[in-house]
Amino acid sequence: MLVRAVLAGDSAAFAMLVDRHAPACLRFASRMLGNREDAEDVTQEAFVRAHRALSRYDDQMRFRTWVMSILANRCRTALLHRHRRTSRVVIDGAAVEQAVGPENGDAELRDAIERALARLDPVQREAFVLKHVEMLSYDEMSAITGAGVSALKMRVQRACDRLQALLREDGYE
């Protein structure tokens, strides 16, 4: 197991853990924070913390779930200390009206969903991203967030309702 190898002093094993889990971590952090730069910062921090705490890792839990729980905490902290960087999501009604439309393809839909995500309550955004972007089970989500399964289902449902409404405002059904 890679974690045991790292603890035994095999530094290459930690590199393998990073290679295996960093893409999902960066994606989650990018969706939570709305820009890649902040996502890289918090993900780096999460891996450093994970490396530091590796001896306390319980292998009953999947490593991805464990590192994601560290990352989710870092994202929450980052959101509390926001405004260090300007989000690349710009809400400009006129530009949106001009550019966005179902006929304009995936890039516009992607912009629209990113704008909509940015407008969600962070708790709902976290639940939506874990469920529908990271495709995790509710048990894994519960382990990551510390919230109960029922609460998470509620958050996901509300997030979906709100996102659908926001997409509809942009002309997407």
């Binding site: 290459a12 590199a15 780096q44 990113e114």
Partner: protein, 182 residues
Amino acid sequence: MSDQREENGLTGALDRAAHLLRDEPAPSAAWRDAVLRSAAADGARRWSVRPWVAIAACAACVLAGAALTYGVLRERGGAAAAATTAADGSVRPSPLPVRFAVEAPGAVHVSIVGDFNRWNPAGLPLHRMPDGRTWVVEVGLPPGRYAYAFVVDGRLARDPTAAESGADDFGVPNSVVLVGGS
């Protein structure tokens, strides 16, 4: 599980949008290297010595630093303050200016990562000199030993002029600078 999917099943635009959100560019090599370097540096700081050894070493450093500072100040006739006194009475060495320079003709962006900025690739950009090939930055660093590397257009590069190279814990090149101490 399938029940959960049913409950929160996505349809229409939101379903397509969720698929788009799953696309994310792969981590850059520079970022990966920065993660590995910062984890190694953090691990070295924390676990390479037993706590009591670290405490003793810190105490010895403080004493040595205080003695050194005292000696330097006496030598200079106390004209310049080379250290600051903290509220608890301990003497902290002042940062010393350290100039990092690298020749990278044709590079678009050069920055420096190291123990002093937690190997953050966005940390410290270098400025291109008028000759168009030399990139420079000056950093204030307290006396100590720092591993570092340049990031030239996203790729880590060892400083060819550094007197010392660090151990490449994860196959990541790095150099070492010693600040003060002589």
